[in-house]
C-alpha cells in the first residue's frame, strides 16, 4: 500500500503563504499599541495657560484639612499644586478632609459644603471638590460649571478607582497625593487638547479597545477555522444512529389520553441600565460621582 504523498511545490507554496500571513499578523499588533499616544502630541502647546483673568490666590485655600491628617509639608505641597492647576484653568481644584458626616448622603453633604464655603472660581463658581469623610469612611467628587468640562464624569470614575484603593487601606496621604497627581494629568490633557477626557478620546481606553478587538479577532478566527474544519470533516461522516421510529408510526394512531397544565408562579428580574457620560459641557448643576464607602 503506497503512503500518502504531498507535492513538494504545493507544500512550499502553502508554507510561504502561512509564513506571510503570520508575519503580517505579528507586525500589526505593536503598531496598534504604539500609535495613539503620538497622535495628540503636537496638536496643542502643553505649556499654554488659561487666560489669567482670575487670581487663584483669591480663592485659596484649596486644601481643607479639618481632621489634621496632613503634615505641614504635605499640606503646603498639595495647596501649591492645586493653586497652580486652578490658576491655569480658571477652575478651582479643591480637596477637603472632614470628620464624620453621620447618616447624611455624602454627595448631598459635599454639594452643601461646596456652596456654603463659596468654593469655585469666578462668577460661575467653577470647580471640583474631592471630599473625604474620614470617620464615616465615605468619599465623593462633585464638579460645578466649567469644572464639569475639565473633569468629566468619565475621568472622575477613573480617578476614584485609583484613589479609593488607597483610602481602603487607610493610606489617606497617599490617596490625597493620587488625587492631586491625577488632577494634574487631567488638567494637562485638557490644556493640550481643548476638551475633557472621554471614552472616545482616552488613549488608554483606545488601547484597551484595540486589545479587546484583537482578542475577539483571535477567538473568532479560532471559531471560524474550527467551524470550517468541522464542516469539512462532517462531510466524511454519513452514519448515525436512528433514535426515532416516526417513519413507522401508523397514520392517526396517536391518542392523547390526558393533559394537565399547572401554573407554578411569576418571577420578575431587573437589570440596572448603565449610566452614560454627563459631560455635556457648560451649564449649571453639579456633576461628578455618586461617591461611596471605603
Amino acid at each position: 500500500m503506497s503512503k500518502v504523498s504531498f507535492k513538494p511545490r504545493a507544500l512550499k507554496a502553502s508554507a510561504l503563504a502561512t509564513a506571510s500571513l503570520l508575519l503580517a499578523f505579528m507586525m500589526a499588533v505593536p503598531v496598534a499599541f504604539a500609535a495613539p499616544e503620538a497622535a495628540f502630541a503636537d496638536e496643542a502647546d502643553p505649556t499654554a495657560q488659561a487666560d489669567p483673568v482670575l487670581n487663584a490666590g483669591d480663592y485659596a485655600p484649596f486644601v481643607i484639612d479639618e481632621v489634621g491628617l496632613l503634615a505641614e509639608g504635605y499640606y503646603q505641597d498639595f495647596e501649591a499644586r492645586c493653586e497652580t492647576m486652578s490658576q491655569n484653568t480658571g477652575v478651582g481644584v479643591y480637596l477637603a478632609l472632614v470628620d464624620s458626616i453621620g447618616d447624611e448622603e455624602v454627595r448631598d453633604y459635599a454639594i452643601d459644603y461646596y456652596q456654603s464655603n463659596d468654593l469655585g472660581m469666578g462668577d460661575q463658581r467653577d470647580g471640583i471638590l474631592f471630599l473625604i469623610s474620614v470617620n464615616s469612611r465615605k468619599y465623593v467628587t462633585v464638579t460645578y460649571g466649567a469644572g464639569r468640562d475639565v473633569f468629566t464624569d468619565y475621568r472622575i470614575d477613573q480617578m476614584e478607582e485609583e484613589i479609593v484603593s488607597d483610602l481602603r487601606e487607610d493610606r489617606f496621604v497617599k490617596g490625597c497625593d493620587d488625587y492631586v497627581t491625577l488632577a494634574e494629568e487631567t488638567v494637562d490633557y485638557y490644556l493640550a487638547n481643548g476638551e475633557g477626557m472621554s471614552r472616545d478620546n482616552d488613549p488608554v481606553a483606545q488601547k484597551q479597545d484595540r486589545g479587546i478587538g484583537f482578542a475577539i479577532s483571535a477567538v473568532a478566527a479560532v471559531a471560524i477555522a474550527g467551524g470550517v474544519c468541522f464542516g469539512l470533516r462532517k462531510q466524511l461522516k454519513t452514519v448515525e444512529v436512528a433514535c426515532s421510529a416516526s417513519n413507522y408510526e401508523l397514520p392517526e394512531a396517536f391518542d392523547l389520553t390526558d393533559s394537565n397544565d399547572k401554573f407554578e408562579g411569576v418571577f420578575i428580574s431587573k437589570t440596572p441600565k448603565p449610566k452614560s457620560d454627563s459631560d455635556s459641557g457648560g451649564g449649571g448643576g453639579f456633576g461628578g460621582s455618586s461617591g461611596g464607602n471605603f
Partner: protein, 414 residues
Amino acid sequence: MARESLTYQCPACGGPLHFDAQTGVPTCDYCDSTFTVEQVEAYYAEKQAKADAAAMADASAKMPSNPAGAHVADAGQQPSSGADGRDRVRQAQHAGAYVQTQVIGGDAIAAYLQSKKPLEEGDANAACVVCSSCGAALIVSGSTAVSQCPYCGNNTVVPGTLGNTLEPDLVIPFETTKEQAVEALKEHYKGKFLLPKAFKAENHIEEIQGVYVPFWLFDAKAEGSQTFRCENHRYWSDSDYDYVETTKYSCYRRGSTRFARIPADGSKRMPDDMMDSIEPFDFSKLKPFSMGYLPGFLAERYDADVKYCAPRAQLRALNTLGSRLESTVTGYDTVLPDNRVDGDVSYTNVSYALFPVWMLHTKWSGGDYLFAMNGQTGRMVGDLPCDNKKMALTGLLTFLGTAVLGVLLTFLIV
C-alpha cells in the same frame, strides 16, 4: 428429509440462475430465460419430491420390512407438514394481510418463536458458510460462490451449519444492480475535500457484494407519559432598569401510539448505526420469503435473536411517543422535558425479514471501512477517512486569514 443437494439451475438449459435486480425475477446466466419465483419454486418442489421419493425407495430396498409402517407414515406426512404451513403463511402475506401471531399470555415474541420452524439444509436449497476470520455466518443458495467475506474482507470461508436458523417470513428483493452500487460508491467519494486521494485509488470497489441482512420487524404499541417545564417571557424597561417577567408552568401529557414493522437488524456484526442510516425501506415491496431471491447474493444468518433486538425497537418507539407528546404542548415560549418518557411498549406482531444491502469492506492505513448501500432505494452510507495533515493546514490558513481580517477591521473601527 433427503440431503441430496440441488442447485438452482435453469429449467430450460440447466445453466445457473441468478436473481436479476432490474427485472425482479430469476434469470438464467446462459440462455437469458426468465422465470417467476413461484415457477422456480414449483419446479424445484416437484424435483425435491421426486428426489425424496427416490431416496425413500432406496432406503426401503436396503432395510428389512417394518411391520409398524412408521416410515410409510413419515413419508406421507413429511411433504405436507412444514411445506403446507409455510405455504399458508406465504399465501396470506402475498395477499397483503398480516399473519398475526397468536399471543400467548401477552408475549407476542414467545408466541412467534414457538410458531416458527427452523430452516434446514437441503429443505430449501440453503447452505451455510462461515468466515474463518470474523465468524460471519452466511446463507447461500447452492449455486452461489462466496469469494470474500463482506464484513472483514477475508477470502477464506468454510462450510458451516444452519443450526436453528429460522426461515425468514419476508424479503425485499434487490432493485439495484452491482453496477449501480459501484457508481453510487464513486459518487459517495466525490466532493469530499478532506478525503485522501490515495484512498479512492486503493479501494477495491469492484469487490462490492450484495448481502441480504437479517432484520426483525416489530409491530408495537407505545403508551406513556411525560412532564414538561414551560415558560412565557415578557420584557419592558424604564429609565433605570430593564425588566424580565417569567411565568412558569408544569405540563403533563399522557398518550399512546402504534407502529408497524419497526426494524432492528439481527446481526451483531453489522453496525446498528449503519443499518439505521440506510433506512427507510419501501415496505410495499415486501414479498413472502423464497430462496428464489437469493441466487447471486449472500444472506447473513442472524446472530442477534428477536429478544436481543427488541429493546432497540422499544427505545425508538418511546422516543417517538415523547416527540408526539411534546408536540401537544403549545402556547409557550420555551418547552423543555422534565424527565424521560415514563412508558411501556407492547409488541403485537413480530416477523423476520431479509433486506437487501450492497456492502464493501476495505482496509486503508490501518483502519477498517465499511460501506453499505440500500439495495432497494440506492441510499449509500459509510464513514470515510480524513486527511489530518490537510485538515490542519486548512484550519491554520483559515485562522490566519480570519485573524488578519479581524485586525484590519479593529484598526478601522477603533
